[in-house]
């Protein structure tokens, strides 16, 4: 049979193995080289919370999914075209994600009796998983890697660490990927500390590629030819990196030093790690003794005039509740980034969810409103963080920016913007030296925002704190004053709506069905709507980046549709919020709480089911 290279619009590949098998790196390299090749892509790592769970067990399986397309790709993909399984446990953990037409590439050397038993197999693993009809390629990867490196002088341990490169080489052949990028990567990765590792890795990846070609591993190979995308300079970025950079960008625009007080917590930690690198850009980071200290140090820094930030995930948000109230009461700018994970309590630390929304909106004592925003894709985290900081500083309010594990760890190519394209950020500093006594809670008539007089501003000494005060900043128990201040704080947050963009409807501007989403479901909803339209269904879609306040035109948009379907990864928290904010509409719900993103298919089916 003649070998053909078939052009395909997109392909989903899942690399899976033991936590120590290097699958995250393999996946990342495959994604990066495809990006450089000009493809659009989206990635998502799926890893256990154990660092090195017992070898060969299902609990220890680490996966990395990459979705490559001709143009822009909006999700990491539901089901995969190729599964790389480095051991039986990886096969068991991921078999359910195989397309009917999928190829399964397994390391035959790892399918011995001991490892099969460890993964709970008693007979033929493929039959047991009912995937024997897929295109299964058994390759003795360990053995071939040993063979490839027998003259390298490396010890067996080092040799075995290279087997992911053999796999990568094979995957590159199957999808017609050039190896140049990998060669360049190996050079820069090992040049300084381990130059002796460059050549062996290079050899293994090349041998893997050639081996796949020689054995005619698949009847046909595929290629995903890049479409012409927007021209320009691109880079890959994860959501957490983008949050960190967006905050640094905001600090630069505002002319403020950036302070981040934070405590490590999955999956938010890498924001603090990223910020800690960039001390050269006016960033101070503090790894505090606990979550409460993270936000409190930031509040202190805000009173001293820094752009103050704290980062966390679910349980940490709970711990920060009282201090958030302090930031609301003192009306100091503060950005809290919550990279949501599965809850409640410790929940599912490494899995994604959108179930902190209600806590962000309501989770404090007293009448305690603040601005709640959401990021909708890994690259969008940059703009979202920038905007969160701008709103906090210009409206003198804490802002909670909701991200998600899926966004924080996921990555996508990003056309590098110019900072000239971003709007200015104008801190509301009081003008010093006018001899006027500072009234801390005197408000701007338009926005109701107060002025900011950081410690050190001459002649503007004043006191703030958690107790209710009047406009002069003097303690007040007066009933009328309390009601006034409660209403003003609420109205101040509501008036942020004047500064945020209107909702934009994707699709017909009126009609039968409007899909509503917020946060990281963006790509899945977008893709689902495309599929529904391709199947002849008329459907429109809006996506909320602002939760509190809602965009000004929300009611007007909702009124143009007969039915509204709110899709989210929780039991209906945004739908509940909409019911309190805009009770005149009925909201249908599409919900999922499995610690996983939506599948595009989930949304398509939900729409089909409502008829």
């Amino acid at each position: 049979m003649e070998h053909k290279v078939i052009e395909t619009p997109d392909v989903v590949i899942r690399f899976a193995g033991d936590s120590g098998d290097g699958m995250q790196l393999t996946g990342t390299l495959f994604a990066n080289l495809s990006a450089v090749y000009g493809n659009g892509l989206s990635t998502f790592p799926d890893y256990p919370s154990e660092i090195r769970a017992p070898k060969g067990t299902v609990a220890g399986v680490s996966g990395f999914q990459v979705h490559i397309g001709r143009g822009k790709v909006n999700t990491p993909g539901d089901y995969c075209d190729l599964l790389v399984a480095m051991n039986p446990a990886a096969l068991r953990a991921n078999a359910k994600w195989l397309k009917r037409t999928a190829t399964v590439l397994v390391n035959a050397d790892a399918f011995d009796d001991a490892l099969l038993a460890k993964a709970g197999f008693t007979g033929d693993p493929f039959e047991e998983l009912h995937i024997e009809d897929r295109n299964i390629i058994m390759v003795p990867i360990t053995h071939l890697t040993e063979e490839s490196l027998k003259d390298s002088g490396l010890d067996m341990n080092a040799v075995h660490k290279c087997k992911n490169m053999f796999t990568l080489g094979m995957a590159c052949y199957l999808y017609s990927r050039p190896l140049d990028y990998i060669y360049t990567y190996l050079e820069s990765r090992f040049a300084k500390k381990h130059p002796e590792m460059i050549e062996p890795n290079r050899k293994v990846v090349t041998d893997g590629y050639n081996y796949a070609a020689a054995i005619q591993a698949v009847p046909n190979t595929y290629t995903i030819e890049p479409e012409v995308q927007e021209k320009g300079l691109y880079r890959n970025i994860t959501g957490n990196q983008a949050v960190a950079w967006g905050l640094i960008a905001a600090a630069e625009k505002a002319g403020l030093p950036l302070f981040c007080g934070s405590y490590p917590i999955t999956p938010a930690t890498s924001i603090l790690e990223e910020l800690a690198i960039h001390k050269n850009l006016g960033v101070k980071t503090m790894q505090t003794e606990d979550e409460i200290a993270g936000i409190c140090s930031a509040i202190g820094a805000s009173f001293a005039g820094s752009l103050a930030v704290t980062t966390t995930s679910g349980p940490g948000l709970s711990l920060k509740s009282e201090a958030l109230g302090l930031a609301v009461m003192t009306e100091l700018p503060l950005v809290l980034v919550d990279v949501q994970r599965g809850g409640p309590c410790t929940g599912l630390p490494t899995k994604t969810e959108q179930a902190d929304l209600s806590e962000a909106l309501y989770g404090r004592n007293g009448e305690c409103p603040l601005v709640v925003m959401a990021a909708h894709s890994p690259a969008h985290c940059f703009d979202a963080a920038f905007t969160a900081a701008k709103v906090a500083v210009e409206h003198m309010t804490p802002v909670i920016l909701l991200s998600e594990g899926y966004l924080g760890n996921g990555s996508e190519p990003w056309k590098i913007p110019s900072m000239d394209a971003y709007p200015p950020i104008r801190p509301r500093f009081v003008s010093a030296g006018d001899g006027v006594k500072f009234r801390p809670f005197e408000r701007d008539p338009e926005t109701l925002a107060r002025r900011w007089a950081p410690v050190g501003t001459p002649g503007k000494e004043h006191r703030v704190g958690g107790l209710e005060k009047n406009h002069d900043g003097v303690l007040s128990n007066q009933p009328e004053n309390h009601e006034l201040m409660v209403r003003e704080r609420e109205e101040k947050v509501a008036r942020v709506a004047a500064d945020i963009p209107d909702l934009v409807v994707d699709g017909p501007q009126e009609g039968d069905l409007l899909l509503v989403g917020w946060g990281g479901t963006y790509g899945h909803l977008l893709t689902a709507v495309d599929q529904l339209r391709a199947a002849g269904r008329t459907v429109s879609r809006v996506h909320f980046d602002f939760i509190n306040p809602l965009p000004k035109n929300t009611a007007e948009v909702f009124a143009r549709f007969r039915r509204i379907l709110v899709c989210e990864l929780n039991r209906g928290q945004f739908a509940a919020w909409l019911r309190t904010q805009l009770p005149q509409f009925q909201y249908l719900q599409c919900n999922k709480v499995q610690g996983q993103t939506f599948l595009v298919q989930d949304i398509v089916e939900a729409v089909e089911n409502i008829g």
Partner: protein
């Protein structure tokens, strides 16, 4: 730079502590010390900030005409730390009670000490929860009868001095509400010390724990029941200054000058600048009836400060950096061009 007097640090707010509360004198000492602090440091008063937690003593910032932050229960030390790290040129004074600092805020308290951030902590210790109207605190003595311990407490108290020294604090001093001049002296020493300066002020709660420290402050006994320690001075005390402290093996002992051939030369000389904690720990731990309670600066040793290290690292990294703007950051590392 302006020169200041006490009046410059008094706010227009009426002080609302109970008549006879020990907090008044500590407030007065602070208002009298800050003009000297500004003069010594060459700073204007807008660089002074007073940060407190929750409790009676934590109302103090409202009575100061400085920048002030009356925050939430237990968190003042870390809020003060955030301010100092963000703006190292500030003179930061953190107010806390025994419940605020040692119960709900214990974690932030010990970590401030561990980091040795350059802030001054005034710990008002009246051994009771006053604001909530009389419950025992982490410094209430074993057996103390309060509303939440009607049959007496069955737990041991913290000695703040042992806690600070146990965490290798670099500065610890103890004052007493009746000793205004000593308290000023302590505050000035704390201001000069670079690092976390913990000042414990033993204060009376006239309503819920009246006489909390009467055995130390009563005029009739104060000289015999306390010893004021000063660097380079002999550890002498008593109305006649005829009693002293000596080492007896590994322990401290009270001796009387002229008895059993003891002379002043035998008496220990106080050195708060000694890095070894041994003797300072014993001094901080002393209590009646066998020993006088030590007042004054017990420990004051130089060490790296957190705020300085943070700033120095920023400076060092910045000097060596190739990226100096966000635009440069966005273009750093792996990028590719789509043409």
């Amino acid at each position: 730079m302006a020169t200041y007097t006490l009046k410059d640090f008094k706010s227009d707010q009426e002080v609302r502590w109970c008549a006879g509360c020990g907090d008044y004198s500590v407030l007065a000492a602070l208002q009298r010390t800050l003009p000297k602090v500004c003069e010594e440091k060459g700073i204007d008063k807008e660089k002074v900030v007073v940060v407190s937690g929750i409790g009676c003593s934590s109302r103090l910032p409202y009575y100061m005409d400085t920048y002030g932050f009356h925050s939430i229960h237990g968190r003042a030390a870390i809020i003060a730390t955030g301010m100092k790290v963000a703006s190292p040129d500030l003179s930061v004074w953190q107010i806390s009670g025994d419940g605020d600092a040692l119960a709900i805020g214990g974690n932030h308290f010990i970590h401030a000490i561990r980091r040795n951030v350059d802030i001054n902590i005034l710990l008002f210790n009246n051994r009771i929860y006053g604001m909530t109207k009389g419950q025992y605190s982490p410094t209430s003595k074993f057996g103390t009868v309060t509303k939440t311990s009607p049959y007496g407490t069955v737990e041991e108290p913290f000695n703040p001095g042992s806690l600070v020294l146990g965490a290798k604090g670099t500065f610890f001093a103890r004052g007493l509400d009746t000793k205004l001049a000593l308290n000023e002296e302590i505050m000035l020493a704390a201001s000069r010390h670079e690092g976390t300066s913990v000042m414990e002020f033993l204060t009376n709660c006239v309503i819920f724990n009246n006489g909390a420290h009467a055995e130390l402050s009563d005029r009739a006994v104060t000289d015999d029941h306390t010893i004021v320690l000063r660097a380079g001075e002999k550890m002498l005390f008593g109305k006649e200054r005829d009693k002293g402290l000596v080492l007896d093996g590994w322990k401290l002992k009270v001796v009387r000058i002229g008895v059993d051939g003891v002379t002043e030369d035998d008496v220990l000389t106080h050195n708060p600048h000694e890095d070894n904690l041994g003797l300072q720990m014993m001094l901080a731990d002393m209590k009646g009836p066998d020993f006088p309670v030590a007042l004054g600066v017990i420990r004051d040793v130089p060490a790296r400060t957190y705020d300085h290290e943070v700033a120095a690292q920023v400076e060092k990294v910045t000097a060596a950096a190739r990226v100096h703007s966000v635009d440069e950051l966005l273009h750093s590392g792996s990028t590719w061009e789509l043409k």
